[in-house]
């Protein structure tokens, strides 16, 4: 038998996928492409045939003979095969390719200080699970380091026209003068090189003043405020070193921020912990009482034996609360309204674009973190730690050998645990920092989260399907890259 004849005779099976129902129809989320197709008419008939057994083309034709015109069956088989819905050999690609060597950087995160005026119990930078070694390192980033870091960004960005600088801490605003200097310096470099730079800041809001907010607004700096809910919930973990809660200090400052700064997005970032997990109450407070138009939740990164770790049934309850908010997002979307639960918004955006990730995030890829001493890490979470290091901005810049090694080790192709998982196009293995805390190595997949990630993306697929069928105009906001 010739190779062509063998290929024709090879039985078809359904390609790697996850099936879900939305708006009364069946859809397939294809892996690894991330394409979502609705099955209709003959395509559904053929896919249903192949659910039970693999069949060669001739057998599919003969099963459907008399029910559908042969030419139509042939055309639909061709179409299904073209889109990888059905395959009769290896699928086109199992994983996205490794990036080009020296892939251009787009974002740096500057840890302007490793000091903080709060002492939140769950902080990954200072608490029991910390990996950073800030002893002996500068407490505040100097202009010399910031300048070298921004120069590194421009150098490593190659032809990218739009660059990002994120200011992080510790508490970032403890070193506001450095931030101000860095924005002016980066703006100057942008003018000289014809590039554009935008900025973002993460802060606990305790040090916000009108002067600072006006500076943020003037420079269109996006702001993420770390806040855990109303006074009672927030003050359980987010306290000053004296033990006093910080809510009363930040609430008026946040209202002032939201009133004065209209040039970029301002979002709330909630860290859930064992005693702070009333998602609905937190969401309602932050959106209705304080006026945030974006609220994202994330469980505290914690070893399971920490008291603030959310485990077992408590985490299931959190997921249920997420689901309730996600369906509410669907209700808003169908009416063309805007809901502020950013977890679901971010997932819907990725599903709409059909993203297929080689890496779980941009760490080490398009993003680098820079510590106060100039050390370059894969991201800000590894700043000043012995892990995921790749050079120093004051001493030779990016260590491309170390960076390449990091990218090879963390590529989805190097994560066998993920190779049979349908959610890998959007998950790609999970946060490197979470993995390190849980498994002691950055390249291990976060297996403790797998079921929840799959449940979450399945939920988001169903919501996406409903919006895409009933109000596709809503999704146009996610069309741009």
């Amino acid at each position: 038998m010739t190779a062509v004849a063998e290929a024709i005779a090879a039985p078809y099976r359904i390609g790697e996928h996850h099936a879900f129902y939305a708006a009364g129809r069946e859809f397939l989320y294809l892996v690894p492409s991330g394409a979502i197709f609705g099955l209709e008419g003959l395509s559904k008939t053929i896919v249903d045939l192949l659910r039970h057994e693999a069949l060669p083309r001739e057998a599919i034709r003969s099963r459907l003979a008399g029910l559908h015109p042969a030419a139509e069956v042939e055309a639909v088989i061709e179409e299904l095969e073209f889109c990888d819905v059905i395959i009769n050999g290896e699928s086109r690609e199992k994983f996205p390719a490794l990036p080009e060597p020296e892939f251009p950087i787009q974002r740096i995160v500057l840890n302007t200080t490793n000091q903080c005026n709060l002492a939140c119990g769950y902080c990954y930078e200072y608490s029991d699970d910390k990996i950073a070694e800030s002893a002996g390192k500068p407490k505040y980033m100097s202009t010399e380091v910031a300048q070298a870091a921004i120069d590194t960004l421009f150098k490593e960005a190659a032809g990218r026209p739009l660059l990002h600088v994120t200011f992080f801490g510790g508490e970032t605003l403890l070193n506001f003068p450095l931030m101000k200097w860095a924005v002016e310096y980066a703006n100057k470099k942008a003018r000289e090189s014809g590039k554009q730079v935008d900025y973002s800041l993460t802060t606990n809001a305790t040090l916000l003043t009108e002067e600072i907010v006006d500076f943020l607004a003037a420079n269109r700096i996006g702001v993420t405020v770390s806040i855990d809910g109303d006074k009672e919930l927030h003050d359980r973990m987010r306290v000053f070193h004296s033990g006093k809660g910080s809510y009363d200090v930040i609430a008026p400052r946040i209202k002032m921020l939201l009133a004065r700064h209209k040039t970029n997005s301002i979002g709330a970032r909630v860290t859930l912990s064992s005693g702070v997990r009333d998602v609905r109450r937190i969401y309602d407070h932050l959106t209705k009482e304080l006026g945030f138009q974006g609220v994202g939740f994330s469980p505290a990164t914690a070893n399971p034996d920490r008291l603030y770790h959310i485990g077992g049934q408590k985490m299931d309850d959190v997921f249920d609360a997420f689901s309730e908010l996600a369906w509410e997002y669907r209700d808003f979307a169908l009416k063309g309204g805007q809901h502020y639960f950013t977890n679901v918004n971010d997932s819907i955006k990725e599903l709409h674009q059909g993203i297929s990730k080689a890496y779980t995030c941009g760490a080490g890829l398009g993003l680098l973190g820079v510590s106060t001493s100039g050390g370059i890490a894969a991201c800000h979470r590894f700043a000043d730690s012995p892990v995921a290091q790749m050079g120093n901005v004051l001493d030779g810049g990016v260590d491309h050998g170390a960076r390449r090694q990091f990218l090879e080790n963390h590529h989805i192709g190097a994560r066998p645990d993920c190779h049979s998982c349908w959610v890998r196009p959007v998950c790609a293995g999970g946060c490197y920092h979470e993995s390190f805390i849980h498994h002691g190595q950055t390249a291990a997949s976060t297996l403790n989260q797998c079921d929840r990630v799959r449940n979450w993306i399945d939920l988001c697929l169903r919501i996406y399907g409903e919006i895409a069928v009933h109000n596709p105009q809503f999704l146009q906001r996610f069309d741009e890259n």
Binding site: R25, F27, S33, G34, A35, I36, F37, G38, L39, E40, G41, L42, S43, A75, V76, E79, L80, F82, C83, V85, L351, H352, Q353, G354, I355, S356, Y464, G465, A468, D479
Partner: protein
């Protein structure tokens, strides 16, 4: 797509690729042109010198009224290299390829056949 409903952007890219694989390219076809609206075939007007190669038809759909002979296309590949057709290399290997062909419109049949 006949039987699949392409839902997200990635699926729509598959659909576009499928469309491209099955249908003719309609580059620069003016779909709003009067001829199109009247159900006639629309051929863009112009000189093959400017638009060459691509429209080897005149305004009537034939080749008689072209301001350059249809055979010119062959030479355009040969000299201007604007068409992804394979023509003999006239720099190193076949410098005399067209030596018997002084006026393309008349004696294009004199062009040598080259076997690689």
């Amino acid at each position: 797509m006949n039987s699949l409903h392409a839902l997200n952007r990635k699926a729509k890219r598959f659909a576009q690729d499928r469309q491209a694989a099955l249908h003719d390219v309609e580059a620069l076809q003016d779909k709003k042109h009067k001829a199109k609206q009247q159900g006639r075939v629309y051929y863009p007007l112009g000189c093959t010198l400017h638009f060459s190669p691509g429209w080897e038809v005149d305004v009537s759909g034939g080749t008689a009224g072209l301001c350059q002979p249809v055979e010119r296309d062959l030479f355009d590949c040969y000299l201007g290299c604007a068409w992804p057709a394979q023509v003999p290399d006239h720099v190193s290997n076949n410098p005399d390829w067209t030596s018997k062909c002084s006026a393309a419109a008349n004696d294009w049949r004199q062009v040598d056949v080259i076997y690689p």
